[in-house]
């Protein structure tokens, strides 16, 4: 079973060389820490920055330079600033190759719910509905089951949707799964020490298991 850092580390392996990537809040933010040295990646922050660097040193903190999670950040050489319309313009024009975000539920059709729980304070969708509507590739980082022990990989979402038929891959503490175009979660890899049976029990949606399922490999 993986911890949050483990999920981030596994997702980092999915990032292709020379790609533009948008990271959501939470586990996705941690992915930036595990990009292999030979992979060139440019991080987009949807408040208007390409070429986001690490958090600043105390002496470098600039209140005019934050990420979409409102944290202070830095810019790497070659960075570019733009306004919010251009930021979402490049997202909808599919110039951003990969979006990594968290979810409360994912359906076997690739629908995602991650912004609203009825009866609880609603904070808003932020940029999530734009990102899921247009990203070329979407990887979800999340726990396989919720705090009540219920599966978050479902036949259909029960919570209000953020987007439909958009999630391509899911990495949880238990497994790596792809969402098939015709529907269903195909099990690709198991987390270290996790059995196929454990994954079956934690997956309520249609789970497709073909052949031996390898354990995740970490360098």
């Amino acid at each position: 079973m993986l911890d949050k850092e483990g999920i981030a580390k596994r997702i980092a392996q999915e990032i292709q060389n020379n790609s533009y990537v948008n990271l959501g809040i939470g586990i996705p933010t941690l992915v930036a820490n595990y990009i292999p040295k030979h992979i060139h990646v440019c991080f987009q922050s949807e408040n208007g920055l390409l070429g986001m660097g690490p958090f600043p040193k105390e002496s470098e903190v600039d209140p005019d330079l934050i990420n979409a999670g409102k944290q202070t950040i830095t810019m790497l050489p070659g960075a570019a600033i733009f306004d919010s319309a251009m930021s979402f313009g490049m997202i909808h024009a599919q110039k951003i190759d990969l979006t990594i975000l968290g979810a409360m539920e994912v359906s076997e059709m690739g629908d995602i719910a991650n912004w609203k729980i009825p009866g609880k304070m609603v904070k808003g969708m932020g940029g999530a509905m734009d990102l899921v509507a247009s990203a070329k590739n979407i990887i979800v980082a999340m726990q396989h089951v919720n705090k009540a022990g219920e599966s978050k990989l479902l036949p259909s979402c029960t919570l209000p949707l953020t987007g439909i038929r958009c999630v391509k891959k899911i990495v949880t503490e238990l497994a790596v799964l792809s969402v098939l175009p015709e529907g269903g979660f195909q099990l690709l890899e198991r987390a270290p020490g996790v059995s196929v049976d454990t994954i079956k029990k934690a997956t309520l949606g249609k789970l497709i298991i073909e052949g031996d399922i390898p354990e995740m490999a970490f360098n």
Partner: protein
């Protein structure tokens, strides 16, 4: 040059009245028009409809206006860093319309480009799409979203000249430059106001034609919401 300079913040906001619709630039607390917000709070203008990506925090930004119950409705993409906001929302004193962040930006952009509406795929298949016109282009569904119609856009820039040209710094550009284009009347407060000719025309982000009033602000606090550092 057409002179857009006003003497101070009081003159800049003099005709904002109860019930007006205001666009307020900024993302979180980054790049918010601190001087104008303070003056609107001071004047206790009420029943405002505020279009802004966020709603500030309890004791800063739009939170200051909420605290005095000056806001009737917020149109935002992400709120709730703010306990008073939550209280007013749950008690029904405050109306909130949550919309996707890109849609918020595009509805500003449309207003600034003279376009009545835009099509976006954001929100297709979700409750955001309820009651809206959907049109299919090249096999993909899009929602029709109208341009905003705001009485005032209130923005904050880094540098500006008396002709109304604006330059923004780093990610404080965010919604400021798109909103600057979108107001019937656009008010810009800047950290440094200079005479025409000082700013390089090649570096201007927002041309002065979009700006109706400009003044040099003061005492910028530039509060940081989530200071995060590398040790």
């Amino acid at each position: 040059m057409i002179d857009k300079k006003v003497a101070n913040v009081e003159e800049a906001i003099m005709d904002i009245k109860d019930g007006d619709t205001l666009m307020l630039g900024g993302f979180g607390l980054c790049g918010i028009p601190e001087n104008c917000i303070a003056a609107i709070v001071q004047k206790r203008i009420k029943n405002l409809i505020c279009i802004s990506n966020n709603a500030g925090v309890d004791d800063f930004g739009i939170g200051l206006m909420l605290h005095q119950k000056q806001v009737k409705k917020m149109i935002s993409s992400y709120v709730g860093e703010n306990a008073e906001f939550e209280r007013q929302l749950l008690s029904g004193e405050l109306d909130v319309e949550l919309i996707p962040q890109g849609t918020l930006a595009f509805r500003c952009m449309a207003a600034g480009y003279g376009m009545p509406a835009i099509y976006t795929p954001a929100g297709i298949g979700t409750e955001v799409a309820i009651g809206k016109e959907i049109r299919n282009f090249n096999g993909k569904d899009y929602l029709l979203e109208n341009a905003f119609d705001a009485n005032f856009a209130i923005v904050k820039a880094w540098k500006g000249d008396t002709a109304g040209n604006l330059i923004f710094k780093a990610t404080s550009r965010n919604f400021n430059s798109v909103m600057a284009m979108a107001g019937k009347i656009t008010i810009a407060e800047v950290e440094e106001l200079v005479e025409p000719g000082v700013l390089d025309p090649n570096q201007i982000h927002t041309p002065g034609v979009y700006v109706h009033r400009i003044f040099q602000g003061s005492h910028y606090e530039k509060r940081i919401e989530k200071k995060t550092i590398t040790v």
